[in-house]
Amino acid sequence: MSSQSTVRLAPPLLWAAILPAIVWLLSACSSVAPTAELRGTGDLGVVIERADGRVKIVETSGRSVLATVEGLGDLSHASVVFSRDARYAFVFGRDGGLTKVDLLQAKIVGRVLQAGNSIGGSISHDGRLVVAQNYAPGGVKAFDADTLELLAEVPAVTEGGLRSKVVGLADLPGRRFIYSLFEAGEIWITDFSDPKKPQTQRFAGGNQPYDALVTPSGRHYIAGLFGEDGLAMLDLWNPEQGSRKILAGYGKGEEPLPVFKMPHLRGWSVAGGKAYLPAIGRHEVLVVDTGTWQEVARVPVRSQPVFVMARPDGREIWVNFAFPDNGWVQVIDTVSGKVTHTLQPGRGILHMEFLSKGHEVWLSARDDNKVVIYDTATKQQVGGFESASPSGIFFTTRAARTGF
């Protein structure tokens, strides 16, 4: 038996490859972070990559992408609400998926398929209930925010069995939620204080409500109407008075222009005692006094407005537009009441989100596959990053606001 063994050295070329690899591996070992770095969530946000069922977790202080989370399903028309501690994002997908994402660990911690076709949701003031608004089957469903267990369901069914799509859901004090029924034209308030016995109050609304908002104080609910010239407004401090029409007849009987995308309403349109609302079928922003609810002005803009958003300080209103003019953004100065800037931040601007004090706005440019960041004082681009077909951008500062 021979103990002789021939030791063959690897050829120099192989060593040239192996040595750096060893060095790299060793250094990687020593620099592995001990545990996740401590950080707050106040400057975090979520960008929806609608076509890929994916969200990016972003950080607004350094304007960077922290992580990407996959597996959220069909995110066309996705929307997001945040837990009270701003750690978790609840993402509502078009396919009825409700996904809970841990922003700090950048992972999915819960997911249910809760409907066939959904368009958004809301969270109760105490943070315990997450409520989804559904197109099919039309209605709302309440889930435990911790476990995503289904707690209650209210089908949007009216007389004669007519089932409606639910739009314009918003949170009210005391585990109550308000929403509108597209087909039935009603406004409903459901109280989930006892999730086993949800109590629903019904109000007349108007013809074909398409979206709605609750004002930042939580006092007024305004539903935009597709089927008539005007909006329905309900004073939630005096609900027994029922809803009334505001801005009735704003179309002046003229033939409406085609609406290639439905506007979105939210409490961001209220600033300085006025609400700035998108007209339907007219290229105008309607301005209404929130004390008297009378029209005080209308501002001609470039096309059909979709998002009409006040900068958080109320000094400016930023407006984006429906297809085919979705490459444009206009800024209205609230003091002069005029358009002061017309911008082209990118192709397919689907959404805008301000930082909480309004010094920056982030815009998603779907058709350029990027998010662009503008300084709102200079109207200059100050940053941005690649993102696949981005749509909604949601910052955790929403966690603290009624109606978001």
């Binding site: 078009r94 076709n117 085609p258 995308k261 192709r347």
Partner: protein, 133 residues
Amino acid sequence: MRIPPLFAHVAVFIGAALVAAFASASAQEARPAAAAPELAAPEAQRARELIHIVRQDCGSCHGLTLAGGLGPALTPEVLADKPFEGLVATVFSGRPGTPMPPFRSIVSEAEAEWIVDQLMRGFPPDAGLPPAR
């Protein structure tokens, strides 16, 4: 942002190839009812644009997957029994009293026919718009 020309060319080429591949793939699984031959596609660049418009901008009401939203689903199964001409008229002239807007300022009548034909066969996936110049 400037896009390097080589990258742009490669992206356009790959995109176009994908569109072509998917278009022919979905054409092969033609619905049983579609005895009629497939309508001729518009020129490649325009076809890509139209596919993008339908997926994204019709998609804002009908869903990216066209499985429905504020507007009904536009899948082959749902459209199978509906008259072709009526659907084309809906796309071209809209449906008054409903949110379905007329697209006559965006597409020609022939393009509306092609879109409905493709919807009834199973709509091709979106390859995005070509990069901006």
